[in-house]
Amino acid sequence: MIRVQREDFEIGAELSALTVGRHGVGGVASFIGLVREMAEGKELSAMTLEHYPGMTERQLAALEDEALTRWPLDRVLIVHRYGRLAPGEQIVLCVATASHRQAAFEACAFMMDWLKTKAPFWKLEEAADGAQWVEARDSDDQAVARWANNDR
């Protein structure tokens, strides 16, 4: 399941909905991304996430399918917010549930790496000296590349 929303989310409620009555699930791996107050040594007052409505949902749905194909999972959940967020606020929730922990962990890490490089979101950071679009990081490209040659 995927959702793109302005509203905050609550991990407890999300995980309950994902696993209720599904007693074959033994492991739930989750990741939450938060707005950090510092970026490249500058203190941020806020961050605005812009996205491409329509394409975002399409890319996240493709990512969900890819994860469910690659690993023996029960379910996958991605919730990604957009709009203006303050330091400490939640940006993204990524969850994979499975019988066994390894598949859940790997799928969750995989989805985050792909999100960072494929989902059409852009971050505008606001600091005392003005606002600036965040540049893509080489380390994120490297992180996602490790899944490409995965011959599973």
Partner: protein
């Protein structure tokens, strides 16, 4: 043809979207970028460094040699930074 701009391409063109009607010899993403760059100083700035521009045609990532037609939705944006 509907063209969308995101992040700093939106700031530089001053537009979040526009309807354009390029001539028939504009048949690929690359040719469209060259043609759009002529439309205003802001467009020229947005398309000055093509290495930094990504494209999607009908909401799927597309390379400069991908085909574009008049019924397509074409979006230009910087490398993504979500998550």
């Amino acid at each position: 043809m509907k063209v969308l701009y995101f992040a700093w391409l939106r700031s530089q063109t001053g537009l979040s979207e526009e309807d354009v009607d390029p001539p028939a010899d504009v048949a690929t993403v690359g040719q469209l970028m060259d043609w759009l760059a002529e439309r205003s100083p802001g467009h020229a700035e947005a398309f000055a460094n093509l290495e930094a521009v990504r494209c999607a045609v009908n909401q799927e990532y597309a390379k400069p040699d991908a085909a574009v037609g008049r019924d397509d939705e074409v979006a230009f944006f910087p490398p993504v930074t979500g998550g």
